[in-house]
Amino acid sequence: MNTYITINYVLLAIVFTFLFVEGMSAISFIYDRKSLPNVKKYLDPIWGIVGTFVVFFVVNTEVLYPSIMPAIDYMYVFPILLATLLFIGRNVFLVFSEYIWKDSKFSQLILARIYSLITFVIIIILLSIFISIISGIGANATLTGFSAAIFLSNPYVLGFIAGTLLIAFGLSFVFYKIEKIKVLSPISTVLGLLLFVFSISRLGLSINYVTYALAAAIALISILYYVMGTARREAIFITVFLSVISINFLNYGKVFGTESLTAYLNNSAVSYASILVTIVGGTLLTVMLLFFLYMYRLPDKENSSDNYQESSDEDEKIGIANLYIISNNNKVNGKEYKTGKNRKR
């Protein structure tokens, strides 16, 4: 097993895990507007980190396989730039939805939904690029051109994407505690899993069944927990991570269907230096993320003597995450959510 390639795969798995969970949030926003507080509670503090992980993966890939970049750039320039353009929209609408004032023409929900649609499209584009790079479908023999028609007319490519989205939809119930027609959660997840595995095998890519079976088991246990009343968010992360790892490893060392990834590896001097930077930077990153997680789980403190008295009017609070404003008083754009069994706006 090549260390450099493995690091890149693990990174890709982390990136896809974050993106997958964000994709689930997008689906949740579209499917059930009441998911807004739960989704934003997760999303608000973490969106900046997700974007950084995407850049991390892109740069890591460039560090490890610089000579493959011209081929990828020529073939996927349009979808890559389109996804990048949409990425600006994703950030803008997310942060605008967070800070929008209550008497604005645009409500928080509308902005959040635009964000969701954008994120949804980004996820589809990235999945498409990913499966095309792995399988080579759509790429011509000389790796100088990409045919969208060939790519889109392949039913198994569509099956792969649809399967992934169905899994995301199914798991989003658990992750964001969506109550609307809960029974769709297991149905969608199981259907998605079947469609995904079938498509992958028909694409001629071998799958790591052990990893994938483990992921499927965790996913189903999570759903079971959820149906019984206890959501297991961590389990969803593990599921997605393992799923992506399994996709990566299903064609280990291969790119564009038949090309050997090892042939594209950078010279040993840069690869070695990158490992050093990865170890040092990765350690710092792990410490920072653990600190983030610790703070995420820490409850709000009472006002202490060395702090100034905050205004009692919630609208006066600096947008120290509207997520706390929302979760504390159930207000969205000044309108109150009713709580209890028949929760309605």
């Binding site: 900046g48 950084t52 000579s67 990048t84 967070e98 930077g281």
Partner: protein, 471 residues
Amino acid sequence: MVNLVLFDAGLMGYSLAVHILLVTVGMTLPILMSIAEFVSIKYKVKLYDVLAKRLANALIIFFAVGTASGVVVAIELFVLWPKFISVLGQVGILPLYMEIFAFFTEAIFLGIYIYFWNKFRSRMRHWLLSVFIAIGAVMSGVFITMINAFMNTPKGFNIPYYLSTGKIIDVNPFAVLNTPTTWIEIGHVIGSTIFAGAAFFLAYFAYKLLKTKGIEREYYKKAAKIAAAIVIISIILTVIIGIESITNLMVYQPEKFAALEMNFNSGPNVAEVIGGFLVNNKTVDSINIPGLMSFLATGSFNGVIASNDSLSAYTKSTWPPVTVVHNTFDVMVGIGVLIGIIMIIFLIIWLLNVNKIRDKFESNRFFRKLLSRKIFSDPFDNPLVLKVLIIIGVLAAFLLEDGWVTDEVGRQPWIIYNVMTVSAAANTSPSVLPVGIAMIAFYIVVLPATILFVRGVMKKRDLNKELGAKP
């Protein structure tokens, strides 16, 4: 048919021009915010506390757009210049990789700083986060500038072998961290970026000082003082390092130096050419000051300018657009020095209004009379001075863009100096066109929309109420 090389260059230049403005704000805001929060904790002044929180609000919004813009620039670098990125990847990619961790530092600590503000029992610990955010922001700039320095003065591989065979050997990936221009360029870039950002905020605070009264005015005055201090320190450092970087250019990028100076002469007593145009390889409509270039370069009017610091030493095909870069360079130096002088005068007036210093001077009758003049009144209360500060804010943004144009256009036709041309590195796939145009259009909307949004967020919150003023 559209020239795709030119389109790629235009798209990259345009994206960078917008991104630079966002970086300027993104790098300066954490510094302002950190200072404000520190003062608020140390001296228990609520005005600074409100300032820190408001700046934090603005920062997260600008961060969202700035991050996305940064991703755009990074991705553009990859897809528009595949051959360049291929060489960079095999030799000098490490700073870009390190930048990711600086970026993470900023993103993670900013997330904790903003979203978990209420979870900290110790305000000092919370303030510490702002220091890390500022370090992360500045270090991102440092690492990216290293890449730019590599483009200006490539190092870390066998260049003659690459030029003859196209193959890269003898790689030292750490050499890119210390090229001959790296540290000078970092000093100049970081200094000028912080200067421009602080000047922009100073202009905003000065505008508010002209418009507000009472406790609100007091609030903006305190904010303006922090920004003014940063502007003064950063412009002085930027000018000093700028002078040093010209000397550096003479040695390591002589052709670029010759173009910036529009210089065709060598030997002793060489004139400084100010302004002018290049027509048929001759300088016209310029102001020539005899011996000044020799003096600036060597400290003596009879100092010798080397022959390779003259455009005559190079074939015309490798010259950058001389008239453009010469004039952008002159404008940068002229306005930069002028702002530097104005800010030093500002500092003197400011210091003369510090009670202890003023008391000492006023014990002398001459100084008492002199200091009673309006120009020596508190500069933050003087409408004329405030208007000048607003103009400086606008000029600072222009200056920053102008400086980058000088640097990047001055390296043309090379993307990596004397190694790879821009046209050789460009992606000539026609797919670039539609999405490139969409990107340009999108940027045109995004930046003003963000500024308006931040303004809206700030406006909708009653500052007087936040400051605890009675209605």
